[in-house]
């Protein structure tokens, strides 16, 4: 099959897979009750909800009771960060994160800082990897939360989550460990037990599920005080009637995941792609070699991202500009990683999904070549 388009922006969102659509349709058509209702309709809906919870729990190796459904990654991150800090406000006021987090974590920390919390933003290396030495030195008895993402959304860099949880355990601090695993979930094996995390955020629409659903893993015994208040649903951490069609779709997408097999396929595809990109004149790679193979960040120095993005878009090739824009709003992630302005302004993010085919890569490479020659016009 030759795709007429190359959708290579799967870290932004993914197309909805048939398993997810089936789950949603079934819910919309025949199981549309409110899980909180006492009657039969409610019982059926509750049953669907609990089956979905079991499916999602299975995918990250936890108990169903440790899964809280949310509206997506942002809400999971917000509930985790604000909820953990609020519950521990008598224990301490120091919180630690990295300088390359998603805005839903970064801005939550910014707000807490303005409210008087002592915030540490860990330095990162050239690839956005956090400085473990700094973390070790910062952990103290006042530290109540550490939040670091599993995979960086722009560079694909895999953060040392196991090492971080080990450091926290070794120290005597009361900190909870939250991981934003939105980009990692469904792409690399994630077991909350072996990672040693207390809280973990995942999202549906990054794994071929619908938008509007996500989950927060809350380890048994961990207490949060949610910033959202309401009628008690989802253990009162995310009250509000459950978005059942989205949750059903989310569960459908999770059940269709083939993490290990897809990782092997995409690793091979990624290695081929990187090999070819390295041979192209005027292309530099920004992602580390050991990045999540689903994300490749590169720069075409001298060519504004947006222009390249538009040229590719005209050929039905969809990627994203590593920096959202050209006029001064530089990507905080790439800036924190210390890339120079020229490289930031010309960066592109290519992101795969398990459905990505070789023909799409060919379209992309061809498209980049054409864009290079179009934009590098002779004088």
């Amino acid at each position: 099959m030759c795709p007429i388009e190359a959708y290579l922006d799967n870290s932004a969102t993914t197309r909805v897979c048939s398993e997810a659509i089936d789950g949603m349709l079934d819910c919309l058509k025949s199981n549309w009750g409110n899980p909180s209702s006492l009657h039969e309709k409610g019982i059926q809906a509750e049953d669907l909800l609990e089956r979905a919870r079991k499916t999602v729990a299975g995918a990250i190796g936890c108990e169903p009771s440790e899964i809280v459904f949310t509206s997506g990654g942002t809400q999971s991150n917000n509930i985790a960060v604000f909820g953990a800090v609020e519950a521990a406000k008598r224990k301490g006021n120091k919180i630690i994160t990295s300088s390359v987090e998603h805005p839903s974590v970064m801005k939550a920390f910014d707000r807490l800082e303005s409210e008087g919390y002592k915030v540490v933003r860990l330095r990162v290396d050239r690839f956005g990897r956090v400085d473990l030495e700094q973390l070790k030195n910062e952990l103290d008895e006042k530290t109540v939360l550490v939040s670091v993402m599993a995979v960086n959304n722009e560079l694909g860099t895999i953060e040392p989550i196991r090492e971080i949880s080990a450091l926290i355990k070794k120290s005597s601090c009361p900190a909870l460990f939250h991981v934003d695993a939105v980009q990692a979930f469904g792409k690399i094996p994630l077991s909350v037990r072996s990672l040693g995390v207390d809280l973990m955020s995942i999202s549906s629409h990054k794994i071929h599920g619908p938008k509007g659903a996500g989950a927060l893993y809350v380890k048994k015994g961990v207490r949060l005080v949610s910033p959202v208040v309401g009628g008690g649903q989802e253990r009162d951490l995310r009250p509000g009637t459950e978005p059942m069609p989205a949750i059903a779709g989310f569960a459908g997408a999770v059940s269709a995941l083939t993490v290990q097999k897809s990782l092997e396929k995409i690793t091979a595809l990624r290695n081929q792609t990187v090999e070819k990109l390295k041979n192209m004149d005027g292309v530099v790679l920004n992602s580390p070699d050991d990045a999540l193979p689903y994300i490749i960040n590169l720069s075409l120095p001298g060519l504004p991202s947006e222009a390249v993005l538009n040229l590719l878009s005209n050929r039905n090739i969809y990627v994203s500009s590593g920096s959202a824009c050209a006029k001064g709003h530089k990507s905080p992630v790439l800036t924190a990683a210390g890339l120079d302005t020229e490289r930031i302004n010309s960066s592109l993010r290519i992101s795969f999904s398990r459905f990505t085919e070789e023909t799409e890569i060919e379209m992309l490479l061809d498209g980049i070549n054409k864009a290079l020659s179009t934009l590098r016009r002779k004088k």
């Binding site: 222009a307 040229l311 878009s313 824009c325 050209a326 006029k327 004088k379």
Partner: protein
Amino acid sequence: MKKVILIKNGELVLKGLNRSTFEDMLVKNLKRRLSPLGEFKFIKSQSTIIAEPLDGNVDFDEAVERVGRVFGIVGFSVAGVSEKDIGKIKEDTLEVLADELRQAKTFKVNAKRSDKKFALTSPEICREVGGFLLSKIPSLTVDVHNPDIIVTVEVRDKNVFIHGNQLKGAGGMPVGSSGRAALLISGGIDSPVAGYMMAKRGLTLDAIHFAAEPYTSKRAEMKVRQLASIVARYSGRINFMVVPFTEIQEAIKDNCPEELFTIIMRRMMMRIALRLAEKDNCKALITGESLGQVASQTIGALACTDAVCTMPVFRPLIGMDKEEIVTIARKIDTFETSLLPFEDCCTVFTPKHPRTRPELEYIEKAEAAFDFAPLIEKAITDTRYQSVD
């Protein structure tokens, strides 16, 4: 109680015999701006235009805001319509101006009686209403020299109007009274401000935008259209034109020295704008240039740009600092939209070291290296038109 808007014309009073034409234009503009809210009746009386909603459910606050953006108005006030009965006048005054009076410390009453048959004289109306207000709002005192609020009671032939302090109008002259001109609009901060300023001087606006797809995205064009629609809140309907400019830019890049790219591009834009403007009966071009702001806005560069232009080019921002321009952009609400981050056609091929002191002769020679005429014709033919409100 029924309310009306009393509108005071601006410079119109200076215009001698042309006044009624100008006034008609102002009324037409007001009508167009207010009609989406409901039907209004307009009565011209001396130097005042009375706008009266015929529908009681009209969004009056929105109407007041809209009137505040119509050029050709010095000031206006929202008046309550009362009856020719001094008892009723007193009570209505309290009702219409309750909030303002409670916030004020001092006041005075000003009465105008054009209906001489009304039982009380102006000074008597003042005394009656003033005494009543003092008795009802004990915190108020009278100050005839410098009051916080002037309560005006106008006894006219049919009605009595009651209003407080006059609101400041948008000033300027009615759009259309100076003719029509074409604004070269980019996605930046300056050009929408320039359009606003010239509309204020009575010009109807066309807006010409140069698009460089695929180097720039559809979103960039949407942003510019959005900017034009914000300007249109002041200027009224704008003829919005999008010129496909990519081929010309590529030809410049391919055939001319890099350091001259921007200046030659500006000249091509002017040539095209001039033709489009002529077609739409415009008598001038408008740009957002400010002297020395960038390399293409030095005296030398402007001279080279103007050399291809046979129409006056209005540059209302020429003597303004960026900060002053931003202040206006914020006031007219284009600033936030201007900041949206999209490439525009000016930034894609921008040379690293543009020439700041170009010589016309040198530029003309550089342009002669390629026959741009067919591309210009094509760009004009392929220009897309849209009306922006």
